[in-house]
Amino acid sequence: MTRSTTVALMPIAVLVVLFGGWELLVRVMAIPPYVLPAPSAVLAALVGDAGILLPALAVTLRITVAGFVTAVVGGIALGVLITRSRLAEAAFSPLAVILQVMPLIAIAPVIVIYAGPAVTVYLSAFIVAFFPVLAATAAGLKAVEPAHRDLFRLYRARPGQRLGWLEAPTAVPYVLAGVRTAAGLSLVGAVVAEFVAGTGGAGSGLAYRLVEASYRLNVPRLFAAALLICLAGVVIHAAVGRACAALLRRWRPQGER
């Protein structure tokens, strides 16, 4: 076995041992499912409750993606705006910092009073994803090499030319790093908000179903919902990571300088 296949198989082996041990433990010690469901019971719940869990997953994902996409657009836009002048930076920076340091779990119950549950979940996904994009964009736009700045000054480039041909291309790798961070966070934001503001019925998200299952001591479903949230996070992380890497390759085709 080559070293690389060993490396690839190791995480699978760890998971097999972990879940195999778990299954064995539950069966041998006859632990009741409302205390600790065996992996097989979680899988059974996942399949059996698919009619409830999958639509809920779709709701959560839709809101997550909406929050993420608008956070990326908004973060880049505000990042460009605040780097245009010291005045704009001074005006907006405190607000951005407040947004960032505010514990979402504390503010979601406030938002829900005024905005309703669905908008609250969306806003939470937006808020947590917004700041990394904003910070990365602002940092990237300011990361222009002094010599490049001199070059554009020498040829008396207009502010728009400087932004489009110098600052924006410089910022690309920074912004993409921010976007990668934001992708995972937007799901966390949506899930946290659903804990506080989730609603029952057709519009309920996955985290709401998870809380609901916990109240009903339906522990296998709780585990299944948590598993789905994990999987969704992994998929989002991987998809956005790949997209960013592909964009980066196109932007600077043969990698580093």
Binding site: E145, A147, H148, D150, L151, F152, R153, L154, Y155, R156, A157, R158, Q161, W165, L166, P169, V172, W251, R252, P253, Q254, G255, E256, R257
Partner: protein, 257 residues
Amino acid sequence: MSVSRGPLVSLRDVSRAFGDRVAVAGVDLTVDEGEFVAILGPSGCGKTTVLRLIAGLDDPTAGTVGGRDLGPAEGGVAYVFQDPTLLPWATVFDNVYLPLRIAGVPRAAAADRVRAMIARVGLAGREGAWPHALSGGMRMRAALARALVTRPGLLLMDEPFAALDEITRQQLNDDLLRMVAESGCTVLFVTHSVAESVYLATRLVVMGGVPGHVVGELPVELGSVRNEALRRDPAYLALCMRASALLAVGMGTGGTL
């Protein structure tokens, strides 16, 4: 452009301080059209500061920086920095096109001229190459093409070949002389190499001291034919020795004129 309009560059009693540190003090310097002036001096004597003041990239704390207002575009000022400072996300073509692009020349209208300039610096066929795929010498050639593509009236060069190996450096010096002769532009060339300055220039301005000032000037009357044979010419060697003596005066290490 006629000579009757006075010198291209005229510095009168120019000083520039950065906080408490005075970089240059009391610098007088005149450059006439058609000259190839080398500013020779040790590291840290303010050569780059003088060049930046002339380029308008910096303002003096005292004295006047005058001469003709050449502007950035056609017949204007071009600057070759110590590093090639190519935009890493742009091809050789786009890097050379940049000054014309900033000046508002459409891509199609500039294409022939950009390609011709790339060929003149010896990079024909590398238009689509990315800067990181080029050697140090080729990058500097691209930077030279970018500087010359606007057909500048005044070319400012800040130790452009200092980081290159001796052979590449000599080739670039010969190519530079050829292109300057073809274009007829005036050159102000900063270097710390005595041999390079005498080989290239029609006049030397030796700088030194703390703060930096002009120690002396030396006309280089070696004619316009500059080639390998010149390096063994007694007149060339004598000039090198006189330039070295001036440098020694500037550095306070003795020596007489």
